[in-house]
């Protein structure tokens, strides 16, 4: 529900002190939360030693709580460079890991470097692995041999858009973009790159927010955008098979004609591709209803780094035979292989959708509202999204045509609740009753309900426009300006779990004072 990208941007440069780090970690540990996000702020790692000292027996507990071990995280990504794998070279996590590793060796001064870098490119500070070859003219002519001429791209203009990510934060310097048309071509490309030790970066719609889809150096970009055929739709089971380059919105409009819908929906739907969605295990707006892609993807066809085609394109939902290898590739960010085909379970498209845009005064109300919504709206709840006043201000400021649903008053938090069901008047009555009860209970301070689809899309525009507004902000201000204010202000801008943490810290303080 919340994008991780905020955390990476905000936590890294923020002036969080040692004690706070310790408490953050402790809090996460007690709550049994994954520490993935927290650990992304590498200077937290530097403070982990204090945790061991200050809180006895905490280390093992932290390891249990976190999915990534504190000890191994900074070491292992760099090791992966040693073992040759053309895809691993450009793994975004690995590249971040490389940065982590370097910074851990250095003193705290390193943290200040992240300040400047958090909105720049990661390529400045890490070294290209010299064991990878450079592209030469023989390579180009080989690619021209196996692919059509107009799918081997060296044109500067087209390369420059493929080299830079959507947020314009990360830029590579690739000299070659390949557009394979089928699995066989992908396989040939990877087999050749493997034999020549050429690094590769797989790319889909290039809409990612964390720089996973662009090269770090001069990797060959393999974009699957031309592999955009819909293979089949089983109208009884609702299982869709398609190629990886299909654009999410095109798939959804195809399914709309058959009264099905994609179980994943996100702001970038007009350009993002299903292969990329699966590779990054994208969550999206309807996660609360349809769950993760691990549950919805029924099969994959993947080309491994050495060109081997792995056919796991099953379409049996209740498949309990043997190992389920496809899960390895969901969320692997293209480090294990390039996804070429996807088989996905699509739910029925229901006729009645209602959307409410609500204002809350504090974060705990938002949480309680979620809990109440799950119980009170039950089967019709299809989305529950959250934004804070800073995001709202940013969107209103940076995007044109966006209108504040509550023009007269200021609120700290905003929540979107969508219901999807089969009976419009029943669903609407249910939503209205729920909202009235929540308002009477003081959870909501104001709210509007969309009266038509147009109003609903303008509400969604606010939530979906946050990354776009951030992108526009990044062009005009540096992140340093944002976090250069007092740490209390920084807190108001960090991700929601910090809000929660903030309130816990207040409680802790109160307890210690008592």
């Amino acid at each position: 529900m919340f994008s991780r990208f905020h955390i990476l941007n905000f936590l890294l440069p923020s002036a969080i002190n040692k004690k706070l780090c310790v408490r953050l970690l402790l809090w996460a540990m007690r709550r049994g939360k994954s520490l993935k996000c927290l650990l992304a702020g590498c200077h937290l790692y530097q403070h982990s030693a204090c945790i061991y000292q200050e809180i006895p027996n905490s280390a093992s507990a932290i390891f249990q709580a976190s999915r990534i071990s504190l000890i191994h995280y900074p070491e292992s990504p760099l090791k992966s460079y040693d073992k040759f794998n053309p895809l691993r070279h450009v793994c975004p996590r690995a590249s971040r890991g490389g940065v982590l590793h370097r910074l851990n060796k250095e003193s705290l001064i390193a943290t200040s470097r992240i300040h400047q870098r958090s909105f720049g490119s990661t390529t400045k500070n890490i070294q290209r692995n010299p064991s990878f070859s450079m592209i030469n003219s023989d390579d180009i002519s080989y690619f021209r041999d196996i692919l059509d001429d107009n799918t081997v791209i060296q044109d500067e203009d087209r390369l420059s858009s493929a080299n830079i990510d959507w947020m314009r934060k990360y830029e590579g310097s690739s000299k070659l973009l390949l557009l394979p048309k089928d699995t066989d071509e992908v396989s040939k490309i990877l087999r050749y790159c493997n034999s020549r030790r050429l690094a590769v970066v797989p790319q889909g719609g290039n809409t990612g927010l964390v720089g996973g889809s662009v090269p770090v150096y001069d990797e060959v970009i393999v974009n699957v955008g031309l592999m955009n055929k819909i293979i089949s739709l089983d109208k009884v089971s609702g299982i869709l098979k398609c190629e990886a380059g299909c654009i999410l919105e095109n798939l959804d409009s195809f399914l709309a004609n058959e009264c099905y819908l994609m179980p994943i929906d996100l702001g970038a739907k007009g350009s993002c591709q299903i292969g990329g969605n699966v590779s990054t295990n994208a969550g999206g707006l309807h996660f609360v209803r349809y769950g993760s892609l691990h549950g919805n993807v029924l099969g994959l066809e993947v080309v491994l780094a050495d060109g081997t085609v792995l056919d796991m394109l099953g379409s049996l939902r209740k498949d309990n035979t043997g190992y389920d290898l496809k899960h390895l590739f969901i969320g692997s960010e293209g480090t294990l292989g390039i996804i070429t085909k996807v088989s996905i379970l699509t739910p029925a498209r229901l006729s009645s959708t209602n959307l409410a845009f609500l204002a809350c005064e504090d974060y705990s109300s938002c949480q309680e509202l979620l809990l109440k919504a799950k119980r009170g709206l039950g089967e019709v709840l299809s989305a529950f999204e959250f934004l804070d006043t800073n995001s709202m201000d940013l969107v209103l400021d940076k995007l044109e045509g966006v209108r504040n649903p509550f023009p007269s008053s200021l609120h700290k938090f905003y929540v979107l609740i969508e219901t999807t069901g089969t009976d419009d008047s029943y669903d609407r009555a249910k939503l209205e009753t729920f909202l009235v009860n929540s308002m009477e209970g003081g959870l909501i301070s104001d709210g509007v309900i969309a009266q038509d689809i147009n109003q609903a899309s303008s509400f969604w525009r606010i939530r979906e426009g946050i990354p776009e507004a951030l992108m526009k902000l990044s062009r005009s201000t540096s992140m340093k300006d944002l976090v250069g204010r007092s740490s209390a202000k920084v807190f108001s801008q960090i991700e929601p779990f910090v809000y929660e943490c903030d309130s816990i810290l207040l409680c802790l303080q109160a307890q210690s004072m008592a």
């Binding site: 845009f357 419009d424 147009n454």
Partner: protein, 253 residues
């Protein structure tokens, strides 16, 4: 002064319209219905006039089947004071002249100082009702209004209209009929407290017999068809090819 606003329940603006296979009309079952966008603007304008103190009451009116009550509820949630639902029963399609006659009958009962309508409904695109009701009532009309100013003292409405090559300003003696254009205002959202208040507001149901209006349909819909599908374009590689296609395929050269 009372303002009467006519609202129509139509297929939502954002829904993809499908024509029924027997070509008798468009598919209406299981389709999202909403208030006609121009009617929303009409309601908003009436509310703004009331909030400015130039009117005391806003009455929303709709003609149609039972579900029209939902649309009226939306108008009430936006802020209208009460609503009148003229049940068209089993009549099916009610055409602009019939609606104008019904509105005339209602105007004679309610005696509003101003009647505001959307300039047209997005389903039939007729753009006739406002003009017809003004004609039947023998009231002045300001159609396609992009700005409305009301002088309470003089009982005059000043209406700006977007015409070819500029703006036309009309001065209308009240009572008058005004139809709204897209740029008149931006309708408000229905807030939760107002939605709640709307639940206790009255929607009065009126039958055609009570209004003493007889509806005769002198128009018959013969057939509804989809517009021809646009053919996919082709990308050509050279100027010569373009000239060749223009000469031999399109035959325009």
């Amino acid at each position: 002064m009372k303002i009467m606003v006519a609202v129509k329940r139509v297929i939502d603006y954002a829904v993809k319209i499908r024509v029924k296979s027997d070509k008798s009309g468009v598919e209406m079952s299981n389709v999202k219905m909403s208030m006609n966008p121009f009617c929303e603007i009409a309601v908003e304008e009436a509310l703004r006039i009331r909030e400015a103190g130039a009117a005391s009451e806003v009455v929303a009116v709709s003609v149609g089947p039972a579900q029209c009550a939902d649309t009226l509820r939306t108008a009430l949630a936006m802020g209208a004071d009460r609503a009148i639902h003229v049940d068209s029963g089993s009549l099916g399609l009610v055409l602009p002249l019939s609606v104008a006659k019904i509105l005339k009958a209602l105007a004679e009962i309610e005696r509003p100082g101003l009647m505001i309508l959307g300039k047209q409904a997005i389903d039939d695109d007729c753009n006739q009702t406002g003009q017809m009701v003004a004609g039947l009532l023998n009231w002045p009309q300001g159609t396609f209004a992009s700005k409305v100013l009301l002088d309470k003292e003089k009982q005059v409405a000043t209406v700006e209209r977007e015409v070819d090559g500029g703006l036309e300003t009309l001065s209308l003696d009240l009572p008058a009929v005004i139809t709204t254009d897209l740029r008149l205002n931006q309708p408000r959202y229905a807030t939760l407290p107002n939605i709640m208040k709307a639940k206790s507001k009255v929607i009065k149901k009126v039958t055609l017999e009570e209004l003493n209006v007889e509806i005769k349909s002198d128009l018959e819909v013969v057939q509804v068809t989809e517009p021809p599908k646009r053919k996919a374009g082709v990308i050509i590689s050279s100027v010569d090819e373009l000239i060749d296609k223009l000469k031999n395929e399109a035959r325009v050269l």
